[in-house]
Amino acid sequence: MTELVVIGAGLAGLIAATRAAQAGHQVKIVAKGFGATHWHAGSIDLLGYFPNETIAIQRPLDAMRDVARVQPQHPYALLSDAQITDALKNFLALTREIGLPYVGAIQDGDNLWLPSPVGAARPTFLAPHAQRAGDLTRAEPMLIVGLRGMRDFYPELIAENLGKQGHPARAAFLPLDLITDRRDITTVQLAYALDDPARRARLASELKKLAQAGERIGVIGPNSVPGIRLTNALCNHLRQLGARVDVNMDVIAFRAEGDRVLWIESEASGRPLKHRAEKFLLATGGILGGGINTDHTGKIRETIFDMPLVAPRDRGQWFRARFFDPAGHPIFRAGIPVNREFQPVDANGARVFANVWAAGSTLAHCDPILERALEGIAITTGSAAACFAGQK
């Protein structure tokens, strides 16, 4: 019998499932598809900005205590210091174990600064070991190398922007046919191509010719090879722990009796597939991840259990007038309100189901992208929710 079904295979779902499986529970992930892990940079943003502030946060662990003061309903405000450190330490140990070690100043509590794909300085807390050369607090000049004809990566733009911020950088190009015969290539295909040692050697030798003494080199752009690696490694690790990971499962129905969910049902080629479990953990994402959906009338719904939501009342309140308003847009804060044990609650604060927990971007009262807290919220709340679910 499955003890815990985790709905969603983003970072929150993967971490929650891993924690539960590590604790010896029988776990199954049921997910519609993969999500934000395949687009973000593979680094772990904990907290980069407060709403309405344009100055980035230097010490996110300290700032998270302020969040609790200023926004008492924010997911971070529901977590103790111990829960946060436990989640981050567990993540570091886990990534070492699965062969994708992360670096970061977890002891000092400082954010790392890495260049974004347009050359902005991006605050993040943990980064894959392979990205450490991009640390902008280091003084060595940077050489940003693109492949001519490759879309979505513009070395001149990156170098210029970095230069304006006081980080010396210059741009250079190599021909695309150094690595591939394709006329058009995605970063993932490029990564596959570079799995071939001969092509990797060709690239390395050309890079050596381009680089001057003391320079560090930045190559290739967004669309997340590190995120995909992390997802695949976590999925493999879960399978080794005896958990099931099933994607392409679109949950279309559920059955509850009293205050307990008995099963969820996913769409299939024949009859729908029932997933029975003692406990369920929602990690389906927010508006962007598909955990929360809207229709043309402005109605906002949680897609699995139709949970009560905190959301703007009508469509006219979804957006502010300015696209880049530092306060963010109210619709992106829509989500599921939860209690301190990460169980969804209704407007009166009463628990909706006794055996359902929620984690990640599906939670209300946060704007993970604006706050640059997407992965941090996923890891800390995923970890905490799984621990609470395990205790019951």
Binding site: Q189, R244, N248, S269, G270, R271
Partner: protein
């Protein structure tokens, strides 16, 4: 004519947000530069295939293996594999079909002909010279694991020859071409298990599900086959009999792919669909109702289980794994390779054989990694089993053969029913 199903495939095109997750997971695009990736060949190129377009502008979609991994990982529900299949059909409609692909579409007729004199047919085709000629003249890959015709006669002839258990509880068995002509043992194991559980197996007249034709873009011919099966089997569905199959890809075609791709969803196809089961899925359901005899004998072996892409495309979880884990002593190990590479008739084509072998490398590696003690490998699709056997030299066995062995009905090495099973059926 735009019916609901045409709509449901075509309209998903607009759900594509160009995220490229499909490209990141496409096992073919990962190993060859001849295929740009599902997003490019599918939703993107589809915009240039609108009606009125004289000729399809890009033929690279031919390198899509139809494994459906793209559908599986798409977060937006775009039916990429179906868009690609329709694009292939459009190319065939415009330019005609290569002789080789025409042959591949008619594996049932090939099975029938070879079955007349299997020894001679095997000798005639499966010798180095004939295979070389087939490669040079037709483009059929010389080393590809094309099955041998069974020298034990067809499954249907065995079924009709031997006395069968009669029971109130009846189950219709869809064997598919491969069981009928190449691996009748799989069907024998299925019938033995059904009868062991007290069910009467019915094997009505049936024909090829049409998958090889769908994969090779011959939609009108595939539709004939689908409609013929519908006519032959729907009466059983309407009597309330479950129709079970051991070939996971045939069941997928009958249950979903054909009606969806050919745009013929109606009340009849829905009734048919609701009666169809993958046999392991049906057994798992039986177990969930507490009706499956779990009195298995111990099978002490390590068994790598490759999850075929066709099984995943069902979205039914891992029924074979669920059922096989009930067998004491059996150490089933689930692999996570995306595809064995062969994908229907894809890996049989000389220009695609190498690609198929590279795609299969992950699956081969997983199977080999289970060590020399693992002598056998299992998968729900016969195609995968043949490819894995080809790539790893281990013996391919169907999950139902494993189960039949665990009931003491079947010898996995000899691939024969035990005398127990034979006596039982003659009661």
């Amino acid at each position: 004519m735009h019916t609901a199903s045409w709509h449901s495939v075509g309209m998903t095109l607009d759900e594509c947000i160009k995220c490229n997750i499909c490209t990141a997971y496409c096992p073919v695009a990962a190993v060859t530069e001849k295929f740009p990736g599902p997003k490019y060949a599918g939703p993107q190129a589809q915009r240039f295939r609108e009606s009125g377009q004289l000729k399809s502008p890009d033929l690279s979609v031919d390198y899509c293996s139809a494994c459906r991994v793209c559908n599986e990982v798409c977060p937006s529900g775009v039916k990429i594999a179906e868009i690609n299949a329709r694009a292939k059909a459009q190319i065939v409609a415009e330019r005609g079909i290569p002789l080789r692909n025409w042959f591949f579409g008619r594996n049932e007729i090939l099975g029938m002909i070879g079955n007349l004199a299997p020894q001679i047919a095997n000798l005639g085709f499966h010798n180095p010279f004939s295979r070389l000629m087939a490669e040079k003249i037709l483009g059929v890959a010389r080393h590809a694991p094309i099955p041998h015709w069974s020298t034990r006669g067809s499954f249907a002839s065995w079924f009709n020859r031997t006395p069968r258990l009669k029971s109130e509880n009846k189950v219709v068995y869809f064997h598919g071409c491969s069981t009928n002509y190449y691996e009748p043992e799989v069907g024998q194991a299925a019938v033995a298990v059904l009868e062991h559980l007290g069910y009467e197996a019915i094997v009505p007249p049936q024909n090829c599900c049409g998958l090889p034709m769908l994969n090779n873009g011959e939609f009108p011919a595939a539709e004939k086959l689908y409609r013929s099966n519908l006519a032959k089997l729907l009466p059983y569905a309407d009597r309330g009999y479950p129709i079970v199959g051991t070939s996971v890809s045939c069941v997928l075609v009958l249950r979903e792919e054909a009606s969806e791709m050919l745009d013929i969803e109606n009340d009849q196809t829905r009734r048919f669909k609701n009666a169809l089961w993958d046999l392991s899925e049906w057994l798992r359901d039986l177990h969930e109702q507490g009706k499956l005899d779990t009195n298995f004998r111990e099978l002490k072996m390590i068994l790598p289980y490759h999850v075929s892409c066709q099984a995943r495309a069902h979205r039914m979880g891992r029924p074979s794994l669920d059922v096989m884990t009930l067998i004491p002593g059996l150490d089933v190990r689930e692999g996570n390779a995306k595809c064995c590479g062969l994908a229907g008739t894809y890996g049989y084509k000389s220009e695609k054989y190498e690609i198929a072998m590279k795609v299969g490398a992950d699956a081969f590696r997983f199977v080999r990694a289970q060590g020399d003690d693992a002598r056998m490998v299992t998968s729900d699709s016969e195609i995968c089993r043949w490819q894995l056997q080809h790539g790893t030299q281990k013996l391919g066995r169907a999950p139902i053969e494993i189960l039949a062995a665990a009931y003491g009905l079947y010898d996995l090495d000899q691939r024969r029913l035990n005398t127990v099973a034979l006596q039982k059926s003659s009661l």
